[in-house]
């Protein structure tokens, strides 16, 4: 055997395992050995190990085996460590989900490089000459600047599609902690990566996406950030919230319909809020706060409307923009993948890479994280043949 650094292998495994909150017992069980024997691997007290064991350990820890057998540390590894350290309450499942999300972003970047797909980059607002030091106002100014820069005239039909054109890797996935709205990572190789917590509320996800976009624009130097619904008090989170409100529901939207909220009944107000909520794909709370902000309603009316939220929400038909693009024929099959965290854009990227003869069938399945038979079924839906 070539000379191999077993001490470094063990150290990397231990660090990754501790970061992921995975117990030694779990890995030892998967390897079919005792914890004492497994300890020897982490301590580097071995002079041989079979490759299968490294593959199994890598898979449990959500890493590429190449990281463990190389002599180097990766920059992203220390970034993940820092992210988990800053957010110590993240549980094991969410850490695994975030790790898988990072792998997906890296894979997506690889595929884009392989097929030569280039996209524009988002603007960096961290150096923008704002005339105000107010984070709230900075968020609002940037929202309108971005709407103008991206040529957004009115409502945003599909925020994910719009922002993916900005070279941001966006994936949605359900996290255990429902208080997390999104995760942003400025990956040293993949670039801007955003994970949106895939909850049942589609419009909340839209807002989270706009919120995370603000972090992309302003806070990429921080490297990484987890946004929580119940921890909105920091200036950066406040800025991101105001950005999201104005980016999704601009002043022009409220002016356009010339609603006279001063002389209407609560029922009429509710139907107007339902209309705006559906058109601009935001939750009614966002509409109510925006109406108050632009002085269409008093703070007393705002409170009355907020107390009627349940009724308002019952009347809103929420549609997932990403799923609207799917034809009936393939909807069920793709829906499963989307809910597993695969985006439609990513699916199309893999199809393009395979059909353009850039990647093998096996690689397509590996990138989609699905089994071979399921992959064949998927390719049959696309009417793609495998050349044998």
């Amino acid at each position: 055997m070539m000379s191999f650094n077993f001490k470094l292998l063990g150290k990397k495994i231990r660090q990754a395992r501790e970061n992921m909150l995975i117990k030694k017992e779990e890995i030892a069980k998967a390897l079919g050995c005792s914890v004492t024997e497994y300890d020897k691997i982490e301590n580097g007290d071995i002079n041989e190990i079979d490759g299968d064991a490294i593959v199994i350990i890598s898979q449990i820890l959500g890493r590429d085996f190449r990281y463990f057998i190389s002599d180097e540390y990766s920059a992203v590894e220390s970034q993940i460590r820092e992210l988990f350290r800053q957010n110590g309450t993240l549980n094991k499942n969410d850490r695994i989900a975030i790790q898988q999300f990072i792998r997906l972003c890296e894979e997506k970047k690889n595929l884009e490089e392989i097929i030569g797909r280039r996209k524009g980059s988002p603007k960096d607002y961290s150096q923008y000459p704002f005339s105000t030091t107010s984070y709230k106002k900075q968020g609002i100014i940037a929202a309108y600047e971005e709407r103008k820069r991206l040529g957004i005239k009115d409502e945003i039909p599909d925020i994910y599609n719009l922002l993916r054109q900005q070279n941001i890797h966006i994936f949605r996935r359900k996290l255990d902690d429902s208080n997390i709205s999104g995760v942003y990572i400025n990956h040293p190789y993949a670039g801007h990566c955003v994970l949106i917590n895939y909850c049942e509320d589609i419009y909340r996800q839209n807002f989270s996406m706009a919120h995370e976009y603000c972090h992309v624009l302003f806070d990429s130097n921080n490297g990484q950030n987890v946004s929580y619904i119940d921890k909105n008090n920091s200036p950066l989170e406040l800025r991101a919230n105001y950005f999201a409100r104005h980016f999704l529901l601009p002043n022009t939207a409220l002016e356009k319909y010339k609603f006279n909220f001063m002389n209407t009944t609560i029922d009429q107000m509710i139907s107007m809020i339902v209309f705006l909520s559906e058109k601009y794909k935001v939750n009614p709370q966002v509409v109510i706060y925006r109406l108050e902000e632009d002085n269409y309603i008093s703070s007393k009316t705002k409170e009355t409307l907020l107390s009627n939220l349940k009724i308002i929400k019952r009347n809103i038909q929420k549609v997932d923009a990403e799923k609207m693009e799917l034809s009936k024929r393939i909807k069920n099959k793709f829906e499963v993948l989307i809910e597993k965290g695969i985006s439609l854009e990513y699916l199309e990227l893999i199809r393009a890479a395979y059909q353009g003869n850039y990647i093998s069938f096996g690689k397509a399945m590996e990138s989609l994280m699905i089994g071979f038979d399921d992959g064949k079924t998927l390719f049959e839906l696309w009417d793609i043949y495998m050349e044998v």
Binding site: M1, I49, V55, S360, M386
Partner: protein, 175 residues
Amino acid sequence: MDAVIDTSTFINIKNVSCECILDYLNYNLLATIYVLQEIDKAHEDTKKFYETLKRKNKIHHVKLTINDLLEMAKVPPHKKKISDAELSCFVKAKSLGTRALCDDKKAIKYVRRYIQLNEVFGIIDLIKEAYLKSYICDEDVKAYQKRLNETKCRVPDNLLEQFAAEKLKYLMENS
């Protein structure tokens, strides 16, 4: 003959129901952990097919070594156009000095840039070998071809004619 099999050939053999060829040609299949994991994630009929071959002692798990992983890592991850299952199959076949069985031409073409490959066979080669050695007849070839087409595998239309021409040549050379 030992041969390290990739999932693509494994699934195609199952789909076409031509496992008898493995017996005729006396193949002993070897599968890496990656391929076994893909089989484990596959549909029930694929898993059952694996169990049947295993019971008949026709397929075995072959372990990867660290050297195999180091060889696999020669393909830069950001340029990797094939799966780790395919890659492990090629690398293991190389380290054992045996034949690799893979049905993805793109994968075979790509990996040659990084790894000195031994012989790589696909399902078409297996069918041809069995035909040339007269283990199977014209009707078998036609049936296999039809099933391959039905499972969205692109096969040359004149497969039987190609094989027949080669068989004639083979018989003349060996007569």
